[in-house]
């Protein structure tokens, strides 16, 4: 059984997703345990694989026993093991968290289906991460996308429908670009297995000069940039996060764009090779660096003036995805460490903040920043979680966010890209402004303002929030994530 863990990680939530709507007709009580069980299994499997791959022992798995490159392969190394853990843990916490939230926001008939779609979305994201076949990556990307459209469109206000539709249109264009990129790559290399394509590039660096290879890389980068909402291709994201049901916002905000960013890492490292950025197509690197820096500064800048907490967090995510792309584009051990640990750090912080946004929706019916007033008095646990996660977003020392910034900044210094340092600092400063605005409301609301939040949310919602907030502290003090990231980088072949 253990050697089949890579495929079981994907298949268990998938089959659970198919079973849930059927079994719900028999017994509605089974939906939640089944969902949590399936995601719990994925969690266990992902953590097990993460520990197993440490020290450079990647797991190779050939689907159906077909040898690679004929068949589809799965491959788990240090990098995607971290992303798998991130997706599975966030999925599990979302499933635990969402009971009261979806009772409040969704009609009873829609709830089993919602669980099923969430499971399938998880399948899609996990699949994107684990696969070593580039066309398989596209298929999982579409599974994840289609389910995401549905997860978003199920919001209770009609804007959710339109937000879901807009995301569908933009997302499909992005996915089509990715498909085109894969086609051009296949045209030149005749292979879809990542390792096989990479071997061809390494054997023959002249390939980087071929126009179809360049087309392929450009299409893939643009497609993924749309999917990861990299500035200025982020237009679909704020509406989608704002109007989606709170549970969808939580899951999608904490995983979706980062999985696309991971796909970019994978394509650079395992398909084209890092040479594509250095000698192959340096303008793409410059463009992505510029886009990442713009995102890092402008995301929080736009976030400052938002009145809706979910929209504010969405713009903040636009900035945060910039960190991850920046880490990759620095192509330096320190910078990459910063980018890779930011997968976890941002998932923890943004996850906690969207939990709080969801709690706010549950208690007040909307996610207005102003309604946070007095939260500290009425819901001290939730308020503490906002504080910790907010500090991590700013990058206060001893929180996870500080480490990300530390590694990115020192990575930039190591590669003589001095301009990155002020960019990061400006972003910290701007983030501090909106986080402070939130904390000011939470803790120091005038005494005569009656808090709109009547009481603390139930423990089923509070506990995942606190777990994520605690993760922001743990990853800031005990640098496990850094250890894992180092291992991942060593496995990717960038010498420490």
């Amino acid at each position: 059984m253990l050697q089949h863990l890579p495929v079981l990680t994907i298949m268990v939530p998938m089959f659970a997703g198919l079973l849930v709507p059927l079994l719900a007709r028999v017994h509605a009580g089974i939906v939640r345990p089944l969902t949590i069980g399936a995601l719990g299994f994925s969690c266990f499997a992902a953590i097990h694989m993460l520990l197993h791959v440490q020290g450079g022992h990647p797991i190779e798995y050939a689907m159906g026993g077909w040898p690679i490159p004929t068949g589809i392969g799965y491959r788990v190394d240090g990098l995607n093991a971290m992303v798998l853990v991130m997706i599975a843990v966030i999925g599990l916490l979302t499933a635990l968290w969402m009971r009261r939230s979806i009772e409040d926001e969704l009609p009873a008939a829609a709830r089993p289906g919602y669980h099923a779609v969430l499971l399938l979305a998880c399948t899609g994201f996990l699949g994107i991460t684990i696969t070593a076949d580039i066309f398989n990556l596209y298929v999982f990307l579409e599974i994840a996308s289609i389910t995401s459209y549905v997860l978003i469109a199920m919001g209770r206000r009609r804007q959710a429908l339109y937000a879901g539709y807009s995301y569908l249109i933009v997302g499909s264009i992005g996915a089509t670009f990715i498909l085109l990129g894969i086609g051009h790559l296949y045209m030149r290399t005749g292979s879809l297995a990542m390792a096989d394509i990479l071997a061809q590039f390494q054997a023959n660096p002249d390939l980087y000069g071929m126009s179809d290879v360049r087309m392929a890389f450009a299409f893939l980068v643009v497609g993924l940039a749309i999917k990861m909402a990299l500035f200025p291709l982020h237009g679909w994201q704020p509406g989608a996060y704002t109007h989606a049901p709170s549970a969808s916002s939580l899951f999608i905000a904490a995983t979706s764009t980062k999985v696309s960013a991971y796909a970019l890492y994978r394509i650079v490292f395992s398909v084209f090779g890092t040479e594509v950025l250095v000698s192959g197509l340096p303008p793409v690197r410059d463009a992505l660096l510029a886009m990442a820096c713009a995102a890092i500064v402008l995301g929080p800048l736009i976030a400052i003036s938002q009145g809706d907490l979910k929209r504010l967090l969405a713009y903040s995510s636009v900035g945060q995805i910039g960190y991850i792309v920046l880490g990759l584009m620095l192509l330096d051990e320190r910078g990459l460490t910063g980018g890779i640990i930011h997968f976890w750090n941002h998932a923890a912080a943004k996850g906690a903040l969207f939990c709080v946004a969801g709690a706010l929706v549950l208690r007040t019916g909307a996610a207005r920043v102003d309604d946070l007033a007095g939260l500290g008095r009425r819901a001290p646990w939730t308020a503490s979680a906002v504080t910790v996660a907010g500090c991590s977003m700013v990058g206060v020392p001893l929180t996870a966010g500080f480490l990300s910034k530390w590694y990115l900044a020192t990575g930039a210094l190591a590669t003589d890209r001095l301009y990155v340092v002020p960019v990061l600092l400006a972003s910290s400063g701007l983030t501090a402004v909106y986080v402070w605005r939130i904390l000011q409301k939470v803790w120091f609301a005038p005494a005569d303002v009656e808090p709109r939040v009547g009481a603390e949310v139930p423990w089923s919602m509070r506990l995942p929030t606190l777990v994520l907030a605690a993760a922001c502290l743990v990853f800031g003090i005990a640098p496990w994530s850094v250890e894992f990231a180092r291992d991942a980088i060593a496995a990717l072949g960038i010498a420490p």
Partner: protein, 500 residues
């Protein structure tokens, strides 16, 4: 025995820990004010005892400290007891006891709301001070520096009036803004200057001594670091300090005469003596920028203080001016001047806290906040105003008050360094200090009580009077027995061959 073992390996942690235990006690006893304040006071005393024990062991030559957790290679949460750290810890923890006593009297007399939050944040603030004092590297110090900013914010906004909110906003914008924009990049630069073996540890004589990084980079790092430590109040990064005067007086006294601002100058001393080292700075020449900024601040802040009618604001500008003495002492790069700067951390603390206590006592007893209202106050509150007079003498630098000692060394240092312009600044500043402090004392003792006011004796509650008497006596005592502070300062600055 157990305590002895713990003091060697975890002494600094014990000191931080006891404050946090006290915090838990304060929160747990939030319904019982007497117990809560009892816990505050006990914690303060226990902490001071621990620091004294650490001091004794340090004097005996013990190497106390260890690494708690390493976050990035060369960047860790680590503690070590050294001369500068123990000096700062002694000052902060000792005055915390007195200040707690004072707070109890002040807060009760005023029926202040949110006292539990007040005492809790105080406990965290002291824990942060202890942490910074014992930090053995720049990162740990930075972490506690930020913690201090964050946990003193609730103290500044305490009244939650519009002015308090505006003041607190300015307070946090300046302090956080400066540390993000300047101190953090300085950390990046200093860490990266280590090449393949980067570290941020404090080293006596300078971590960067012998660094291969370019002078340009090092000079930039120094200026960024000093600008980032905005808590030291050097102009143009000073205006948070008067804004923070909206806080209750015990906060102004401890935080804005002792803990917060001293954390800033303490940080600069760390940067000068332990990160760059005097020799490297002399080679770089960038310390001159700090000398000029400090001289400018000393004179201009005194001039501004001259025209302030609000007593606390006048004291705030006096603090800004006095802090720059410390910066000046460090920046002159002469052993005697360094000694003066470091010693002034302690001497200024006891003197300035006395002045703030007196200002608060006047407010509690007579509800007066303006200098122009102080006619005849000396007759109604003789103890308070005597203490105020002692504090004033110390600020001016006259015996028999503590700061006379540090000013003496500063003059010696300026002569050693051959900076006669600095001597002129010191003299002018002493005259200005006299010009804005002595009229207050004169007014209080020699002007009659205005018509229509009661003229009987009316001191503040006894805890307040006790607190300010203790600090006034300390101010005088330290003039006659300054060794405890001067010896440590001499070690830091390498004065008289006392380098460690």
């Amino acid at each position: 025995m157990i305590l002895a073992i713990d003091l060697i390996t975890h002494g600094p942690l014990l000191s931080i820990g006891i404050c946090l235990v006290g915090l838990l006690g304060i929160v747990a006893a939030r319904k019982a004010p007497n117990v809560r304040e009892g816990i505050s006071l006990t914690t303060a005393i226990a902490n001071f005892v621990i620091v004294l024990l650490l001091h004794a062991r340090f004097r005996a030559g013990a190497d106390i400290g260890g690494t708690l957790v390493e976050i990035v290679p060369g960047v860790s949460l680590a503690f070590r007891v050294d001369a500068l750290g123990i000096l700062f810890a002694l000052v902060a923890s000792g005055l915390w006891i007195v200040n707690t006593l004072y707070s109890i009297g002040y807060m009760r007399a005023h029926h202040e709301p949110r006292q539990t939050r007040f005492y809790s944040c105080f406990a965290i603030a002291i824990a942060a001070c202890m942490g910074a004092a014992f930090s053995s590297n720049l990162f740990s110090m930075f972490a506690f520096y930020e913690l201090l900013t964050i946990c003193t914010y609730p103290l500044v906004i305490h009244a939650e009036t519009p002015e308090a909110r505006a003041g607190a906003k300015r307070y946090v914008t300046y302090l956080l803004g400066a540390s993000i924009c300047f101190l953090l990049p300085a950390l990046f630069l200093i860490w990266s200057a280590g090449g393949s073996n980067p570290t941020l540890d404090f080293v006596s004589g300078g971590l960067l001594a012998g660094s291969e990084a370019s002078h340009m980079t090092l000079g930039a790092a120094f200026l960024l670091a000093v600008a980032g430590l905005a808590k030291c109040g050097v102009m143009p990064f000073h205006s948070w300090l008067p804004a923070a005067m909206v806080a209750p007086t015990p906060v102004s006294a401890l935080l804005h005469a002792v803990a917060v601002v001293k954390m800033g100058v303490f940080g600069v001393c760390r940067i000068v003596f332990y990160v760059f080292g005097v020799d490297l700075l002399a080679e770089l020449g960038v310390a001159d920028v700090l000398v000029v900024a400090a001289c400018f601040t000393i004179v201009v802040a005194s001039l501004v203080a001259l025209v302030q009618d609000n007593l606390k604001r006048r004291l705030a500008y006096s603090t800004i001016s006095q802090l720059s003495y410390i910066l000046l002492g460090a920046a002159l790069l002469a052993p005697a001047a360094g000694l003066a700067g470091v010693a002034h951390i302690g001497f200024h603390a006891v003197s300035k806290i006395t002045l703030f206590f007196a200002a608060g006592a006047i407010y509690v007893a007579l509800h007066k906040t303006k200098v122009s209202e102080l006619d005849g106050v000396g007759r109604r509150m003789p103890i308070t105003m005597t203490a105020f007079a002692i504090g004033s003498l110390s600020m001016i630098g006259l015996p028999p008050a503590a700061a006379a000692v540090s000013k003496w060394y500063l003059v010696e240092g300026a002569i050693d360094a051959g900076r006669f312009a600095v001597l002129v600044v010191i003299v002018i500043s002493a005259l200005l200090n006299a010009a804005y402090f002595l009229p207050i004392v004169w007014r209080a003792f020699f002007n009659p009580v205005p018509e229509g006011e009661e003229s009987g004796r009316h001191e503040a509650p006894w805890p307040c009077v006790a607190a300010l008497s203790i600090t006034a006596l300390l101010t005088v005592g330290l003039f006659f027995w300054p060794d405890i502070i001067v010896d440590l300062a001499a070690q830091v600055a390498g004065y008289g061959g006392g380098a460690d």
